[in-house]
């Protein structure tokens, strides 16, 4: 790693044995991406070893405040020696995306000698929270697609403006790093809150793939609490119940119905105490 030394800050030194790299972004619908990374880091007792400095990628003209707390761009790599896993939780750069993603791949390729890359994102879906979440997948090499065939991933077909994860996947391909972008479904009305079922689905994929032996008990508890709140909402509100029933059998809702359910669910999940 010779080109971009000034944009990294290393805090620990490890000897890596071709760990896989899992990348999640700090902001994601349903809290999916950051929660999955936090969960994996916690359960695998990963240790931070490198950060990408924010200067040049973010305006740094002060701080944003979210939920009463000042935020700051963060791009931290953590490592689990036991599981040979590196994670990156990063804020999406607001400028110089190519330079930022190249820096990520410099750490992955030159420093960690990673051969496999995973990115995590939520994809909003007209599905009900009671339905199982699918994970849609985009691979940059056919050999990884073949290797992950056993995990019931759904092949994505799509064309349009690329997300940063797709750009990273493309740049990884150029460096001959196999990669897959995982797009886990999140019911659209859970976009603004945490969708624990999607988080669990994604964590379970990594658990199987890397034999992490993670206990999802905490997630199960959150799922149960959320389900209870939503069940109570359905019992109280016939319109919402009809909307969710429609989604459960694969029907779509119109814009007005979507707005109605988003408002009701957000209110129910933020205020309602668990019985």
């Amino acid at each position: 790693m010779t080109k971009n030394d000034d944009i990294f800050r290393f805090t620990s030194e490890f000897s890596f044995e071709n760990p896989a790299l899992i990348v999640g972004w700090s902001q994601d619908s349903g809290g999916l991406s950051p929660k999955v990374i936090d969960y994996i880091n916690q359960k695998t007792k990963s240790t931070g070893f490198c950060e990408i400095e924010p200067a040049g990628f973010f305006p740094l003209a002060g701080v944003n405040i979210e939920n009463d707390v000042a935020q700051f761009p963060q791009s931290s790599f953590c490592y689990s020696q036991k599981h040979q896993l590196v994670t990156l939780k990063a804020s999406e750069p607001q400028s110089e995306a190519y330079k930022f993603l190249s820096a990520v791949l410099d750490v992955a390729g030159y420093y960690c000698k990673s051969k496999e890359l995973y990115t995590i994102n939520a994809i909003l879906s007209q599905t009900a929270h009671t339905n199982p979440r699918r994970i849609l997948a985009v691979f940059n090499q056919a050999k990884l697609k073949k290797a992950l065939r056993v995990y019931s991933l759904v092949d994505m077909t799509w064309q349009g403006k690329p997300h940063l994860s797709s750009y990273l996947l493309w740049l990884a391909k150029i460096r001959d790093i196999s990669g897959v972008s995982l797009w886990t479904e999140v019911p659209f009305y859970l976009a603004a809150v945490e969708d624990f079922e999607s988080i669990k689905t994604t964590v379970s994929f990594f658990d199987q793939r890397f034999a992490l032996g993670t206990d999802t008990g905490v997630l199960d508890k959150h799922i149960s609490q959320q389900d209870q709140k939503l069940k109570a909402l359905r019992q109280e509100n016939d319109d919402i119940n009809r909307c969710i029933e429609a989604l459960e059998i694969g029907l779509s809702l119109n814009e007005q119905e979507q707005m109605q359910i988003i408002r009701a669910v957000s209110e129910a999940l933020s205020n309602r105490p668990v019985q």
């Binding site: 190519y98 997948a137 691979f139 056919a142 697609k145 403006k161 797709s166 740049l171």
Partner: protein
């Protein structure tokens, strides 16, 4: 990372022509018309990653097949006694909120284009763009010519329909060329390469229009064809110019009937709609600003609040 040449043709007595998008796409359309007419062959590109974000991704059956970036390509054509290199960019490398090229990336791209010019011992370079001018859309646009060395002035003046900055009323020989057109002229000067920018006139009230302005491109192509002593088929440009003229008339008609437009602005638009170039008369800066404010607002309206999902 930088310039990637697929082959290195043996070229002599090279002149380079550069075109990229800008106001009315005047330069891009002019240079590309010449490139297509001469059937120039692609031989290289500037790799996009450092300059542009990808615009499109193609994912099929779970495989990421294609990532599409704006292209910046080199073409060549051998002519009798004068070989040509064309550089056609699909986008200018802009930074921040500025719409045209400036800053480090723009300078680096200009350097890379000049590297190719030097590699093939180019003896001259022409860029092209738009000159926002107080002309009417029914008028034949002139070509403003700005060289980077004084001794080229006489050559440029010899071509029909070209004007120098000093010949334009109120300019007194001064002005500015924004974006890569200007930057390239400067970087070429730094490297002692003769260069000139040929700018086709675009009516000031159309500078924010989403359409090309092929009439101005045609004027530039006429000068370039004369310079190279070649015939260029302009029929496609003329067809496009006719269509754009119709669109302008329709647009001005609809604008003049817009409710709530200040009377002063409406009067000026009516004047544009019905007058020929010579009848326009003087327009004050305040009137010009008022018209531009309203026209630009209408042009921008289509793109506003565009929010698209991306994967």
């Amino acid at each position: 990372m930088g310039v990637k040449l697929y082959k290195e043709p043996e070229l002599e007595n090279v002149v380079m022509f550069c075109g990229w998008p800008g106001i009315g796409n005047v330069g891009l359309v002019a240079i590309d018309t010449l490139r297509v007419a001469l059937k120039a062959e692609e031989f290289g590109e500037i790799e996009p990653f450092e300059f542009f974000a990808p615009q499109n991704v193609v994912i099929r059956d779970g495989l990421l097949e294609q990532m599409v970036f704006p292209s910046s390509k080199f073409f060549y054509k051998r002519l009798k006694g004068k070989d040509l290199i064309f550089f056609i960019g699909q986008q200018q490398p802009a930074e921040g909120m500025v719409g045209y090229a400036q800053g480090h990336k723009a300078y680096k791209m200009a350097e890379l284009v000049l590297d190719v010019a030097e590699q093939f011992h180019s003896r001259g370079m022409y860029t092209s763009g738009a000159a926002v001018s107080m002309i009417h859309h029914s008028a034949k646009p002139r070509v403003w010519a700005v060289p980077n060395k004084a001794h080229i002035i006489s050559e440029l003046k010899a071509y029909d329909n070209t004007v120098l900055m000093s010949e334009i009323e109120g300019r007194d020989g001064h002005g500015a060329i924004t974006g890569l057109n200007g930057l390239l002229l400067g970087v070429a000067k730094k490297r002692a390469i003769e260069a000139a920018c040929l700018m086709g006139e675009v009516p000031y009230y159309l500078q924010g229009a989403p359409w090309p302005y092929p009439k101005a491109s045609r004027s530039v192509v006429e000068v370039l064809a004369k310079m190279l002593d070649i015939e260029v088929d302009m029929s496609q440009l003329d067809i496009l110019a006719g269509r754009v003229d119709d669109s302008i008339e329709q647009f001005l008609q609809s604008l003049s009937s817009t409710e709530g437009l200040p009377a002063q602005a409406r009067a000026e638009i009516e004047k544009l709609l019905h007058a020929k170039q010579a009848d326009l008369g003087p327009i004050t800066d305040a009137e010009k600003k008022e018209i531009l404010d309203h026209i630009d607002e209408l042009f921008k309206g289509e793109d506003r609040d565009e929010k698209r999902r991306h994967i």
